[in-house]
Amino acid sequence: MPLKRSWGRCQVLASLFLIGTLVTTPQMAVQAASQTIVEDSSGGMTRAVNRMVGGIVSYARWPDAAPPTGRVMCLVGTPRLADRMAPDVPGPGSVAVRRIAAAAVNPDCDILFIGRMPVADRRQLIAWVRGRPVLTITDDDAACIYGAMFCLSNKTASLSFSVNIDAIGRGPLRVDPRVLRIGGGGGAS
């Protein structure tokens, strides 16, 4: 009996903890936290980036409730961390990747990967995304201050991502709170 009760209490505690994390995180809108281990081999970073992008995509929820696989990722600019972008989504299925110019961005794009590009183009893209169900990921904004939802950055032998809660909060897209917590640096825990 005591076991069951304590278990129930812990479950409640855990739920409260998660809710608490969600409530407290937005106050620190942007924070780098994730510390993905990168394999020490050629192409290790590319694999790590693709896995991270795939993971982020898998935890995103579009308003049409369709699964993340089969989504279209539009690649704009030059990716800094990966030679070849092919998001590694866990489980079956994959994400189609289209390389397009900043001006050619269109509503087919479910995911926008923003590589290195002129600041004006980036600002224009971010403005276009506002209000649309589009997931934005960049690898050229380590501080994550230019309006992309997820920002990848590499440190010595590791890859991490940060979350811009404000950017996510503005759009209709929903992201799994566990990912927000990881991207939020776990400072709330």
Partner: protein
């Protein structure tokens, strides 16, 4: 010879026996112990089974919670995030160790409880293996979480369970002892009542005692049987006593005259001598013999002789005072003891009083009358002799002398 062969066997036998109360007590205690042990064991087994179910479920749920928490960390291959994902689990009591393995089975992170396992044996019994839950993402396995339980929560249950069990045992034991006492009392009391009656009857010959009606049917029947037996015994006892009195009277009395016989006289004389010696008193012994009694018998027949003897005995008795004693010691021989004897009474006066009493003629059964005469010899204690033989001899001699005088007269 016999004193040595039997030191005191009855005592030993009593010592080796047990009382009914002790027997019942032992029996009750055994039953109680058995019942309590049985129920305790059942409860313990049921409790342990239920507990095991809960413990397993707890571990399983913990593992599920952990799997949910570390899922993104496994997706991003992030050890720090995995540690944070395990955070809620580390606060659940009863978890000894956690480990997160990635899709190729390499540990991503692990955590060991800083608290020592209070009962490793219990842990080994209850959680011989870790609970492993596969973490899945979109239908494919991306890692495994393993949860090892420990006995910290079980030990509380076991402790409380044992205490409660002990408490129950005590309460049950006291309750049963109380009930057993009551039962013993209810059973032993009537038995004691029966025993008391039997004892009274045996020891004090109280054949009028009866067992009262008892509350227990079997014992009441036993009491009824005992009462019936006592009724019979009482009847026998009454018959026996009257028979014995009759026999005793017959043994010491002459059937014809209903006077004490020779045996009774010997006994009485010995008593009187002892009593007179004690108080330094005197008494007289009179030996009386009917004169010519044989002739009366021959002339008138035996029935007439008997009538003469009865008449003589009645007249002799009439002369006696309260403490005096008369007996018929032979065919026509009587003895009288005058006791106590006043100091100024002369022996001749006593003899004359007896002689005078028989002077009146005796009416015989045939209608004739017979004039009886007696010879009387007097002996005085202690003047004529201080023992029975001497006194009798003296009295006999005096009587004989009297008879000679009567004949010559």
């Amino acid at each position: 010879m016999t004193g040595q062969s039997s030191p005191n066997p009855p005592l030993e036998r009593i010592g080796a026996r047990t009382t009914l109360q002790k027997l019942l007590s032992r029996f009750h205690f055994g039953i109680t112990l058995f019942a309590v042990a049985l129920s305790g064991l059942t409860i313990l087994l049921a409790g342990v089974t239920a507990l095991r179910g809960y413990a397993d479920r707890n571990m399983e749920l913990a593992a599920q919670l952990g799997a949910y928490g570390v899922e993104p960390a496994l997706v991003f291959n992030d050890a720090q995030a995995a540690r944070e994902g395990l955070g809620p689990l580390t606060r659940i009591p009863g978890i000894a160790r956690l480990r997160v393995l990635n899709d190729v089975g390499r540990p991503l992170t692990q955590w060991t409880s800083p608290k020592a396992d209070p009962a490793p044996l219990l842990t080994r019994i209850f959680f011989p293996r870790p609970f492993a839950v596969t973490v899945q993402r979109n239908g494919s396995a991306i890692g495994t979480i393993e949860v090892w339980g420990d006995s910290s929560t079980l030990i509380d249950y076991v402790r409380i369970g044992l205490l409660a069990g002990l408490g129950c045992l005590l309460i049950t034991a006291f309750g049963t002892i109380f009930l057993a006492r009551r039962f013993e009392y209810e059973l032993v009391k009537p038995l004691n009542e029966i025993a008391t009656v039997a004892h009274d009857v045996r020891l004090h010959r109280r054949f009028d005692k009866r067992v009262q009606s008892l509350g227990i049917a079997e014992l009441d029947r036993l009491g009824g049987d005992i009462n019936a037996l006592l009724d019979e015994l009482q009847g026998w006892q009454g018959n026996m006593e009257s028979e014995r009195a009759l026999l005793a009277h017959r043994a010491s009395h002459d059937t014809l005259t209903a006077m004490p016989n020779r045996d009774a006289f010997d006994e009485q004389l010995a008593l009187r001598i002892r009593s007179a010696e004690d108080r330094s008193g005197r008494f007289a012994l009179l030996f009386i013999d009917a004169d010519n009694f044989k002739a009366a018998n021959d002339n008138f027949g035996h029935a007439a002789g008997d009538a003469v003897l009865v008449a003589l005995s009645a007249r002799i008795k009439d002369t006696l005072r309260k403490g005096d004693f008369a007996a018929r010691i032979g065919g026509d021989e009587f003895i009288v003891i005058i006791d106590p004897l006043d100091g100024d009474v002369r022996a001749e006066d006593l003899a004359n009083r007896i002689r005078a009493s028989v002077v009146d003629p005796v009416l015989l059964p045939g209608g004739e009358t017979y004039r009886a005469a007696v010879s009387v010899g007097v002996a005085l204690f202690p003047d004529s002799g201080s023992d029975a033989t001497a006194l009798l001899t003296a009295a006999d001699a005096a009587m004989y002398a009297d008879k000679m005088t009567n004949r010559s007269r």
